[in-house]
Symmetry: C2
């Protein structure tokens, strides 16, 4: 059965399983492929540049094949966002831990945050840009987003326990910090900051210093 040969092939070269074999009927894992192709298209041509037709064509599949796996286009976007939150969270945790779970790690986390946003700008926009108003009900997506936020809260609590950060409500404190890095990220993405090389990194570093002064325990 050719079916089995195909399955073996995609097992051995997972990166090549994107296009459907012309003669074959089933794709293999179209759902997975759709998400990856959508992410790639978004990265290259922006969110508005994502068309179901182009995605289908890139995968060698009809433009309506997608509807066997997602209710509509926004559901595909939600899946992309979910994936985004996952890798985003991992990047934040890594920075925090490599920096020793202290002030240094916290600064590294801010940097990692904005770096992710800038290097995956369209992806980031899908995650936070309000495209998902309607499908905000997606519980899996909510869970991933909450988990990413929790990384920040945990980092703050750890520093509070070490006596390095003032004893405010951690979630309010977290949202304040979040707003800063999110703000810098969005301004950078939208081209509202000087295009000068290294400007964004400098701003982040400067911000980290001001944040530290703003949130450290009062030493009277």
């Amino acid at each position: 059965m050719p079916e089995i040969r195909w399955a073996a092939m995609i097992g051995s070269m997972p990166a090549r399983r994107r296009r459907k074999q012309p003669g074959r009927y089933h794709h293999g894992d179209l759902r997975r492929a759709l998400i990856e192709e959508a992410a790639r298209t978004i990265q290259r041509h922006g969110v508005d540049g994502l068309t179901l037709r182009a995605v289908g064509q890139a995968l060698g599949v009809s433009r309506t094949a997608l509807y066997r796996h997602f209710p509509d286009k926004s559901a595909l976007l939600a899946a992309v966002a979910r994936e985004g939150f996952r890798t985003f969270r991992l990047a934040l945790v890594e920075a925090w831990e490599r920096g020793g779970r202290g002030p240094k790690g916290f600064d590294a986390m801010s940097l990692a945050y904005v770096r992710f946003a800038v290097t995956h700008s369209s992806h980031y926009r899908v995650m936070f840009g309000g495209f998902l108003d309607a499908c905000a009900a997606d519980p899996e997506l909510q869970k991933e987003a909450a988990a990413a936020f929790q990384v920040l809260v945990d980092a703050l609590v750890a520093q509070q326990e070490a006596g390095l950060v003032r004893d405010d409500d951690p979630s309010q404190l977290a949202r304040f910090i979040w707003a800063i890095v999110h703000g810098i990220a969005m301004l950078a993405i939208d081209g509202q900051l000087p295009r000068q090389d290294g400007y964004v990194e400098d701003l982040i570093r400067y911000a980290a210093g001001r944040i530290r002064s703003g949130i450290e325990t009062d030493k009277a």
Copy 2:
């Protein structure tokens, strides 16, 4: 001449000059009307809900009439953004001056900033949302945006001269503050903050306190 009667009428009731008189050929001031109608549509149905067809219909005019006044849709959006920056700047200046051009006025300005963004959320998104990548060349728009930013810089310099704010580069300092209010505004607009009544205002007030600690002169 009916033309003159019509002109007199729009002089006396400027709010009613929106729809074209069916029999008449010229609209009166279609350019102005297009911008206002576009802003209204965006406010009600979001940026994606803005269609040239609907705008034309609301004004009793063909859907292609717009092309006599703007090169394309994005130019219309740029005009809307320009208007937005103007009223935005006025709101900021007012808050700053009513608060006495000091720390109190500065906090009031932060509040005014986010209030504008939240109450004119779609308008704000057009101004900052990266819809204007292509037509970023529009010099009038650039000028308005720069003027709005300058309000913030001036307020910081005034406080530096009064010895209330540390002597960092005002423009970097300004961009740091800007990122914070922009970040809170975007999170609020995109529904990423708790929907709890008054939450955003509380967060802004909290942020104002943390910002103050972060930027005030070191009192050793």
